[in-house]
Amino acid sequence: MQSLPRNLSDADLLSGIRADGPQRRLYENRLYEKYDYLITDGVRKHRLTDDDCASAYSDAILVVFEHITNDRFKEQSGLKTYLYQIFSNKCVDAIRKKTTNRSSVHEGPSLDDSLLQLPDDVRSVVQQLIMQGDADRLHQHLQRLGDKCRAMLLAWADGYADDDIAQTMNYNSAAVAKTSRLRCFDKLRERYRDTP
């Protein structure tokens, strides 16, 4: 993987993140570093600890990554302005969490988003099934799934296309990567179903 030039413009960062591919992560890291001075501003402005503010900044950056890749960020404002707005909200979340013990109101996409396209009658059935599921146990099985399967599923969940996964993990093609990924999915399902 080749290194990136030191000073990248916002336009370079945006196109690098949108381009997907194995280098996407490098561009994301650069975006994180470019504006991480906001953490210091946040500490001063919101009177949060350095760690709390850094955590809020990371959360904000992750949201921005997501909004860039799914085109929710329309560039109607500058990238820094956009990030700053989300970061401020995350800081407010952190303050709220400390003072009222309430969790964030600015979570990522909710579980229900995937279900919106289902017909109403089917959706309620599927939602009930999900509620009956055990997320903690699923998480434990994921941790024990094996490094390669786990890494592949994490990359997929992180928004990487099968083509990128094939390149990064040395599969011959996107189709082969997809077959392997679905096999990992199936393996996880078997373990989850068979082991209480």
């Binding site: 950056i61 999900i130 994921l142 969940a157 399902r189």
Partner: protein, 259 residues
Amino acid sequence: MNNLETIENYLTGQLAPADRTRFEATLRTDPALAESLAFYVQTKHVVRAEARKERKAELDALRQTPRQQPAPMRWVAAASVLLLLGLGWLIFRLDNEVPTTAQLTDTYLADTYGQLGTTMSGGTTGTLEQGIDLYNRQQYAEAEAIFTRELNRQTNRSRRSSGSTLKGGLGLASGSDRLLKFTGLAAFQQQKYDVAIKRFQQLGQRTDLFSNPGLFLEALARLKRNEPMDKEQAKKLLGTVINRNLEGKKAAEQLIETL
């Protein structure tokens, strides 16, 4: 596995409309398919949360990593400081130090001989005026050609009329001192220093002139040509100009201090 692939294709909008309708119909009647879909969605949510947690840890680690100023930037910074110091020194020198020999030479030449006077005593010819005009318009080559032709013409006429050398033993007529000077200056302006020196030497050897800039101009031409021994000879010439109180004495005094 095909089951999961179809679910994924459905959720990502990759099923054809007919397949989509068929899939939704099957969902209503097949509890196993509904369960698989629920598992897919829940797993994606769990895996995404895990991916996010790991990515966040990576980003936090970025912050912990001390970021070194890249080497090229350090060099740029160092170069900038040196450049500023150099510029400061240059400005200081320009403001406070005496001009260099080359600067003085150029200044004197531009001030004194940048433009030639068109009003001439001693019978100015139309040809000479034309040469002066060309010189003043910085068409030095054309001006030199006219001055040289006129100089040769006057010299030949003078030789024919007297049959011997006149005016300092060079065979030059009265008034040709200006032509020698102009021809030399036109050559000087074209950086043809050898020609200029020859003309100024001829001028300097004239003994019949009330004011003779020949030696001084030769010194300037030698300083500009800057061949071996030129500087030494220019220094001697400037010394002579000063000692004999010749034309250019004041400038010679300034110049000699820089040598």
